[in-house]
Amino acid sequence: MNTSIDKLNSNPKPESQKPQWEQDFPIDVEQDNYVARRDFTKFMVLTSFAFVVGQCWIGMENFIRRRRGKPPARAIAMLSQVPVGSALPFAYPGENDPCLLMRRSEAELVAYGQKCTHLSCAVVPKMELGQLLCPCHEGCFDMSNGRPLSGPPRRPLPIITLEVRGGTIYATGVQERTV
């Protein structure tokens, strides 16, 4: 019995000779703090690396978007189809990009993306108030420039640039804005 005494328990090995799992989950507080610090540093380095990759990704997306250029102009409606004080929904530039065309006076034609900048509900034109109202959270946009007036949205609606050629209204581009 004497010769077979297991020395494993009586003599803790130095940290470097322990198996990997024991090094990762040490019993001594100081070593545990060291591992915690090491893990924290590892987390910080990997997170900042992920941020760098994310920034590169955004930059690349921007570059590709710019290379793609402006969407082609498209006829929306005849001028006669939109009487003063009325609004007309249309899709531009893609099928799934709902927009609103509004004729506020004889000369003033405006168009905005219809998705509320808060949570993408469809905004409803209130011609008599000169506002676009989002019914979901009572967000309000100014019809003259698309900027938010009240409610949760903080960013303005994208402007659809328009052109009238020979009685036909054309959408010529989308002006995304952040402020």
């Binding site: 019995m1 328990n9 001594d28 507080v29």
Partner: protein, 225 residues
């Protein structure tokens, strides 16, 4: 940080079973109402002898080795701390693994709680709560010289053998100066059948004069507690 010179000595033969240590431990603010010291009857059927059981603070704590949640840690001064509350998953591995039966699972809190030698007190140079109240000085906290002068007929033992494992502890037990080192043949107990209310474990001595001596370690009540 615990003082280098001071240490904990248990003198089981001096214990009178008054429960003062248990009461004092339970009053401590860090674990109010839950005593972390156990008062055990050595052989309840035949004797009134009791002994206080505090954490022995092993050099290489088995409880910490078996903890799957990494909750039990040992500070640089050799004190094995109680389970860290945010980490402990109440799996009771440590309760089963500890050769001294020290950790207890508090299922109300889903937390293992064990003696940490009153780390809040001893790290500031004060004695553990139990050692301050023990009327017969069965629990003694002080220097090796002090205990040697106080108990000249005893010697401190801090190495224990359980089967093939040698466990070296920070806390020492005071045994009669001429006593031989004994250890339990724990593996033999696996084949032994219990008689009546008693589980028998072989005590193997290092000297060949006592080859196999039988001692009762637990009565059935003590074992189930």
């Amino acid at each position: 940080m615990l003082s280098e010179t001071q240490n904990f000595y248990i003198v089981p033969s001096r214990c009178i079973g008054c429960q003062a240590c248990v009461q004092a431990c339970g009053e401590c603010d860090t674990h109010k109402g839950t005593p972390m010291i156990h008062l055990e009857f050595i052989d309840r059927g035949d004797s009134t002898q009791t002994t206080p059981v505090v954490c022995m603070h092993c050099e290489n704590p088995t409880c910490a080795q078996v903890c799957p949640a990494d909750a039990i840690k040992k500070t640089a001064d050799g004190v094995v701390q109680s389970a860290r509350k945010p980490r402990c998953i109440a799996c009771s591995n440590c309760v089963l693994a500890c050769p001294f039966g020290v950790p207890k699972m508090k299922s109300d809190f889903e937390l293992m709680m064990k003696c940490d030698m009153c780390y809040d007190r001893t790290s500031e140079g004060k004695r553990p709560m139990c050692a301050t109240v023990c009327p017969s000085q069965a629990l003694f906290f002080g220097t090796r010289e002090e205990i040697a002068a106080l108990r000249p007929r005893s010697r401190a033992v801090n190495e224990f053998k359980f089967g093939r494992e040698l466990v070296r502890t920070k806390v020492s037990m005071m045994v009669p100066i001429g006593a031989t080192t004994e250890h339990l043949d724990v593996t033999a107990a696996m084949e032994a059948t219990s008689t009546a209310r008693r589980v028998q474990l072989n005590v193997v001595t290092d000297d060949s004069e006592f080859d196999v001596m039988t001692a009762s370690m637990f009565d059935a009540e003590g074992a189930s507690r």
